[in-house]
């Protein structure tokens, strides 16, 4: 049974997005995603200052099994990346919604959040 916090928004591609704080959202991958991937061994993050459209490839996580693309849930500019993952990618496995966050984005259009899934909607994706 994977953990799906109520306060977050989700993508069908298994990323989560936090609420907006000062125009910035935090992005990570879900507990279900890390569980499916297995032990993470490498994370390739975007550069601070890079800008992405919603649903475009912006990072890569690699587990013992395979490499998986991460898609930006919303459009905007990267303001911060989780440098701790360079040395400790396993933080994503241990704490996917906390210390294992991937990057922060200054969101261009907050309305994009409305098109994302809530916890119940993501639960349906996981169960499908």
């Amino acid at each position: 049974m994977s953990d799906i916090p109520n306060e977050l928004r989700y993508c069908r591609t298994h990323e989560w997005v936090s609420c907006v704080e000062d125009g910035v959202v935090t992005v990570g991958i879900t507990d279900h995603a890390q569980d499916q991937l297995g032990d993470l061994v490498f994370v390739e993050l975007p550069e601070v200052g890079e800008a992405f459209e919603a649903e475009t490839e912006c990072a890569v996580v690699e587990s013992v099994k395979a490499a998986s693309d991460i898609y930006s849930p919303v459009g905007g500019e990267v303001t911060e990346v989780n440098e701790a993952l360079m040395d400790s990618p396993e933080l994503v496995n241990d704490d996917p919604y906390g210390d294992g966050w991937l990057f922060k984005i200054a969101i261009t259009d907050e309305a994009e959040l409305d098109s994302l899934l809530d916890a119940d909607g993501y639960q349906e994706v996981v169960d499908a």
Binding site: V41, V64, K65, A66
Partner: protein, 363 residues
């Protein structure tokens, strides 16, 4: 419908994450592949390898038959229980499979072949055996458990049937002790000490449970792959197949050229390649920076493609990414590997990367 080993229910009961593998429903890991890997390097872990096929050969002509069938020479098997690693080649010198052959007794031998090759191997062996009058018996009634790691032998021995418990501690490497349908061999696929135990499938769940109770960690196919890669051992289907010879697969040491009169299948083709200067070779790679080497990534030197990763991954013992790669003969000590459009520097090294818990390359 996947085939199931005798231990399938135990895997599921202990949280095994099951995956289809060569037609079998097998555990990939039981929670953390990484922890399973470390358990084998530091203490002891066990693997269900019952999906591999055991093929028994019997009859007066079984030894001459194997001397024809295999590129290594079973003349090296003179005592009961002795084991030998060999390739089985086609006429073109391509590798049909790699296997271990055990001398059971008198004219009886046992081959242990890869699960993914089981059907084609059996068909090939039967076809080649026709003129020799050898009896060939696939042993799906047997299971196999590999117990590997620095503490594997001491933990396993007291749990074996009495006679085997007496014989097993004195077994040299690549020798097996036999009793009825049990065979305890000091072999493995991890680079660590340990046993591979063949036994009646009906007895396997009880042994697995006893081993688990003794603190031996169940390990899945995931850890099996990272352990063998660190040990520099080839994986059939990735590092070699029917399109390449043992000479291009780092396996020339398994080809018994002498005596020259032994006409093993594939010999003529291999002899023409033996002194060729353009044979590719299989080498080890160490990625210098961060990232993960993966199968089929291309290698470059001075902008020219010089090879391809045949099996790559993250090496938990080294905390670095390593690979086996098939390369042009003149490759130097350094190359780059193309990963997602970038050229990342890698060092060409000689496998193994890790043996007996110790790192064998400069990192």
């Amino acid at each position: 419908m996947s085939m199931k080993t005798a231990l399938n229910e135990l895997h599921r009961a202990s949280g095994g994450r099951m995956t289809p593998f060569a037609g079998w429903d097998m555990p990939l890991h039981y929670g953390s592949q990484m922890e399973e890997h470390h358990a084998v390097r530091r203490s002891a872990g066990m693997f269900d390898v019952s999906h591999m096929l055991l093929i028994d050969l019997a009859g007066g002509q079984s030894r001459p038959f194997l001397q024809r069938l295999l590129a290594n020479d079973v003349a090296r098997l003179q005592t009961a229980g002795k084991a030998l690693y060999s390739c089985m080649l086609n006429e073109q010198g391509g590798v049909i499979d790699d296997l271990i052959v055990y001398h059971l007794w008198d004219n009886a031998f046992r081959m242990v072949v890869n699960a993914g090759c089981a059907d084609k191997d059996l068909a090939w062996i039967r076809a080649q055996a026709a003129p020799f009058g050898v009896t060939i018996t696939p042993r799906r009634d047997l299971a196999m458990i590999a117990v590997q790691g620095p503490q594997a032998r001491e933990k396993t021995v007291p749990l074996l049937p009495a006679t085997l418990a007496e014989m097993a501690p004195g077994l040299p490497v690549f020798h097996a002790a036999l009793q009825d349908d049990w065979c305890v061999a000091r072999t493995g696929y991890t680079g660590e000490d340990g046993f591979e135990i063949m036994l009646p499938a009906t007895a396997a769940p009880a042994l697995w449970q006893t081993l688990a109770d003794a603190g031996i960690s169940p390990c899945g196919l995931g850890a099996r792959d990272t352990l063998r890669l660190e040990a520099g051992m080839n994986l059939y289907g990735s590092d070699m197949d029917e399109r390449c010879s043992p000479l291009e697969s780092g396996l020339e040491w398994t080809v018994a050229w002498e005596p020259g009169a032994r006409d093993f299948i594939g010999r003529k083709a291999l002899e023409t390649k033996r002194n060729a200067i353009d044979n590719k070779r299989l080498v080890g790679l160490l990625l210098e920076g961060r990232g993960v080497l993966r199968n089929q990534q291309k290698l470059f030197s001075d902008g020219v493609e010089v090879g391809e990763v045949t099996s790559g991954g993250f090496a938990p013992t080294l905390q670095r990414s390593i690979a086996l790669a098939r390369v042009q003969p003149n490759i130097g000590e350094n190359c780059t590997v193309e990963i997602r459009g970038k050229q990342l520097p890698a060092k060409v090294v000689r496998p193994p990367f890790v043996r007996k818990g110790k790192i064998c390359i400069a990192i």
